[in-house]
Symmetry: C2
Subunit: 438 residues, 2 copies
């Protein structure tokens, strides 16, 4: 590591420990040290040293991951990209930006808004997550029901490979089909194939106007029917979020939102169309609020943004991330409720309902080193239910280490064999985030 300028390497265990975890409850390994990369050259130097010494490298953004993708491995170097924060270029005319991986997601969006554009992917952690972490997990968010996930906004990458060579993939153009889609392969690979040091991102025109409604329902099935109706009517929602009663209750206990005893679910929807049309499509709703000013809209969407902090007040949270075909949403939520009852576990559910992406949050006693067995048993049932419904273990958080146990149920041995074959092409020494993702 002599190639790195002073101050870039941390080795004090008290300090390095704080870089060893993401937001999961997995007991991390003990890192050798932490590199605070400030440039591509720092990344190259680190990867060369790691290859020479056969030391595993765990790349890291802001550590907001929910699957353990950035969790330390014993004897690894943590390679933090969070100091590489330059927006190298922003071209309003071409609707692209070239950015470094440490740029905060919401900062990217704000920079684009100055030109009437937006950066669409908005994971719930977007005010603290980095673009690099979003690329590693192929992050989704609230707006992806209309605009797609991180991969859909990524045109090209600069990547440092395991041996320190620098690769450029993709392009600055909207379309291109020269060779295999290496860009798409890196996005979502959880730092196992290379370290992204720059990305060419696609920006989009910000919508001219947004209509916002919030509807309350006395049954989950009615709420799911409203989701289907809003989609089928062609409203093209840019946000379509569902919260269950457990979630609403946790918000009500904190902020006193006047939750009715009969309310079982709330749907929050945004589109560029008419609020009245969306309200009318929530036929079975017990109450519909329509925002008539941007402030009122922020207030309604703000309810959804309160969901996670409200849950965290109740205990420690294991946040899961199953995704099912949209029509199976009611069955998925029923399965979650049944698992909660059977194992006497508190599960509070929010869903990116338009995508069929459901986040059951398992809440358990504070202070435990990891979730108790009943939580894992309930989670196991939820995962299996999602797969039975034609769904997937993870819509947007990634596999990390958290979902390794269930991975084989979804993908099978042939996919595993091919994934490991690809890994071998990019990282023959298996030093890049070994044991994650695949």
């Amino acid at each position: 590591m002599a190639a790195l300028p002073e101050g870039r390497v941390l080795t004090d265990p008290d300090v390095t420990e704080s870089y060893a975890r993401d937001r999961t409850f997995l007991p991390p390994g003990r890192p050798l040290g932490v590199v605070l990369a400030q440039s591509r050259d720092d990344v190259v130097a680190t990867m060369r040293w790691a290859a020479d010494h056969r030391v595993p490298v765990v790349p890291r953004g802001a550590g907001t991951g929910l699957a353990g993708g950035a969790t330390a491995i014993d004897g690894c170097v943590i390679l933090s990209l969070s100091r590489m924060t330059a927006i190298r270029e922003l071209s309003p005319r071409d609707e692209i930006a070239v950015v470094e991986p440490g740029v905060i997601t919401a900062d990217m969006d704000r920079a684009a808004r100055e030109h009437g554009l937006m950066y669409a992917p908005d994971p719930s952690s977007f005010e603290i997550s980095t673009i690099g972490g979003n690329l590693a997990t192929n992050a989704g968010g609230l707006r992806c029901v209309k605009y797609g996930v991180t991969r859909d906004s990524t045109l090209g990458l600069e990547v440092v490979l395991a041996g320190g060579r620098v690769l450029r993939t993709g392009r600055r153009t909207m379309k291109g089909v020269t060779g295999y889609d290496l860009t798409g392969l890196f996005v979502g690979s959880e730092g196992t194939l290379g370290v992204i040091t720059a990305a060419t991102l696609r920006l989009r025109r910000a919508p001219r106007s947004i209509a916002t409604i919030a509807a309350e329902f006395t049954s989950l099935r009615d709420a799911a029917e409203a989701v289907a109706a809003i989609i089928a009517a062609g409203c093209q929602p840019s946000l379509l979020e569902l919260m269950d009663r457990t979630t609403l209750k946790s918000i009500d206990e904190w902020k006193n939102i006047g939750l009715e005893p009969s309310t079982r679910a709330m749907l929050i929807a945004q589109s560029e169309g008419s609020p009245d049309e969306m309200a009318a499509l929530c036929g079975a709703a017990s109450f519909v609020a329509t925002a008539s000013t941007p402030e009122e809209a922020d207030e309604l969407v703000g309810l959804r943004r309160l969901a996670y902090p409200a849950k965290e007040r109740l205990g420690q949270c294991l946040t899961e991330d199953v995704c099912v075909p949209r029509s199976r949403l009611p069955e998925m939520i029923t399965s979650i409720e049944e698992a909660a009852a059977r194992h006497d576990v508190m599960i509070s559910t929010v869903a990116h309902a338009g995508d069929g992406n459901v986040h059951p949050v398992f809440i358990f006693e504070r202070g435990l080193a990891e979730p108790p067995p009943a939580v894992w048993a309930a989670a196991d049932e939820v995962f299996r239910a999602a797969l039975d419904l034609g769904g997937t273990l993870t819509g947007e958080h990634g596999v990390g280490v958290l979902k390794q146990r269930w991975l084989g149920l979804e993908t099978g041995p042939l996919v595993t064999e091919l994934n490991h074959g690809i890994k071998q092409v990019f990282d023959p020494l298996n030093i890049l985030n070994p044991g994650k993702a695949i």
Copy 2:
């Protein structure tokens, strides 16, 4: 090939020759035979036999490709998927379809329209091209300026690998991040990694209403400015097509559209917004036609669909496919005009202008076995100009064999090495469409 039922294998050279070409002018190799697969089992049997006998296999859809991806190799088996035409499932509620590779692209769209949905990708050949061919090349089209390319509409695949094993990739859900993006890797791989035998496609809501305009300009730069203005205003066009004077003249000579002597370019635009707004954004236009009925809209878009047949009346066509950042469109078109003048070659240009994807069509004497040297010299200049402008050799047609000569200029040795490494993982015997794409 004994495993195949009778009538599935053709070996008469007079017959097999007609399966040896796509729509390029490359002299094809001589195939051993043609397999007309009717099921996945036929594909498995073919791939097993080919692996056992080390015989190269060239998968083939409708043969509408423009880069030689389906051109026969000496001693190969042509594996035609065009008889696998089942739409296995179409779920309006989940907005997905599961289809076989021989389904005609426009048939997929028509099946979706019966449910208020559409299949968005619409390459110009969509009435005769197959979904399998579209997947192989990651085909684009007119609507992809709004809805993206074939990869953006592909959720999962069933693939027969080189040795005959059957792989399932992806999912039925809108989102999913389990493992590497194998689905995206197969799309655009031009049949070099596996043979797609089924695809789970994403359908989209068909727009409620479409506004259509056609605007004439006395300079290309004015037309390009109108493109930029329509995008910047947030019209979200679903079609934004540019035709140069050479193209318009060939249509006028055939259909007598009353082309003005001063007209240098025509722009055709569609959006879900207001036609008057789009017309107003074509500030420098010499004339703007606005469609007030669906029939009038079809007539305006029909002008664009006449472009290729009109060119083919003038001679043989080499259709190219460069793509540049949208702001560089005027420079790209100027470079094409300069190359045409310098080499005394007729080049007629249409562009998916909203994507910066430019199709210069090089027109030359009928009856020649391949394009004359002046055409290649002009094409070489056009390719190099596209790369100099930050663009790519191919926006949507693929590399095939046609663009192999220039591939290294765009991608460099490291990309080539990694692409070949991936190829080796999927096809260690190198029997799947060898020498294509990468």
